[in-house]
């Protein structure tokens, strides 16, 4: 009986010692956790090459040429939609509006919505859409471009976009909202159809801002 008690005490003390040590080690790691880099990471000798979103030429709602780099070094929130979309787009844009409201006075953040319906969403249509969404186009840009390049771009943002005659209005696409850092690297995303996912995403965006603008 006595020896049983002794060994129990030993186990308890070992356990508590290890937990204290673990706590100490964790406490010493002052470095805040960084957001992951999404996509392929290539290591080339001492160089690490991260996946970056290409800086292709697009056209904005004012018929002007637009590239991500023309925004300056900003953190970007991006999505893919079309103005006559009867399925998920209104819900995703509603969540983009939540993000807009949260960061509209924060110059470090810019927003881009890419149309995947180049045939119907002319620059005039995009401009009218932005106007009726009641957002500032200097903060939130609506862009179009060559169909192939926008579909390829969606791929680079890890958003699936396909033409599907069986889908509503001919397009099937994901409602992801993507977070891109100052160097066009994808650092996070949320499901724009799910308000809770977007609420959690606020923290992700804030974390990146802290990381990028220390």
């Amino acid at each position: 009986m006595e020896s049983n008690k002794n060994s129990l005490m030993k186990i308890i003390s070992i356990l508590s010692l290890t937990s204290v040590m673990a706590l100490l080690v964790m406490g010493c790691r002052n470095e805040p956790q960084r957001l992951p880099y999404l996509g392929n990471i290539e290591v080339n000798g001492s160089d690490t090459i991260y996946h970056t979103v290409p800086d292709i030429a697009l056209i904005n709602q004012d018929s002007q040429s637009f590239r991500i780099s023309s925004l300056g070094n900003k953190v970007i929130l991006a999505d893919f939609f079309f103005t006559s979309c009867p399925s998920i787009c209104p819900k995703v844009q509603k969540q983009m509006l939540r993000l807009y409201d949260r960061y509209k006075d924060d110059d470090r953040v810019m927003m881009i919505s890419h149309t995947i319906d180049q045939r119907n969403d002319s620059v005039e249509v995009l401009k009218r859409y932005a106007h009726n969404l009641e957002v500032d186009i200097h903060k939130w840009t609506f862009v179009t471009g060559q169909k192939d390049s926008i579909f390829d771009l969606a791929d680079q943002y890890f958003v699936s976009v396909v033409e599907d005659p069986l889908a509503a209005k001919g397009f099937d696409h994901s409602g992801r909202i993507i977070l891109v850092d100052k160097n066009r690297r994808v650092r996070g995303f949320c499901e724009g159809t799910d308000p809770e996912s977007v609420t959690a995403f606020f923290d992700t965006v804030d974390k990146l801002l802290k990381e990028e603008y220390q």
């Binding site: 006559s84 399925s87 998920i88 209104p90 844009q93 509603k94 509006l97 009218r128 009726n132 969404l133």
Partner: protein, 130 residues
Amino acid sequence: MPQISSLILLLLAGSLSFIGCERHPYSQGEIIYKYNCANCHMDDGSGLAKLIPSLDKSRLTLSEPAKLVCLIRNGLPVNKLTGQEMPPNTILNEVELTNLINYLGSKYALKPQTVQAPEVKKMLAGCQTH
């Protein structure tokens, strides 16, 4: 001891009946709303800025079931100011429409009017197509 257990039972029964009352009276209509309308008008009926109208602000239409039936069935053509259209809904039958209208009325109308399926059938017959 028996007193305590009967008290617990009583409390349990009370809370259950309370939960039962929390349920919306037109839960069928709510489900139909969710699958046919909420993509654009949102789960809470708030719409999307000026693009998609909020249901809260269209109380007049919602309080007139006959207009509402035709609006849902035929939709609205493209609005020149916003570029948005309301797509027609041709899949809901009169019973489903009845459930939907009673749900919308109870939630948004200033003076909710309850309708029955035979009335809705007549209303549908009276819709003008555009």
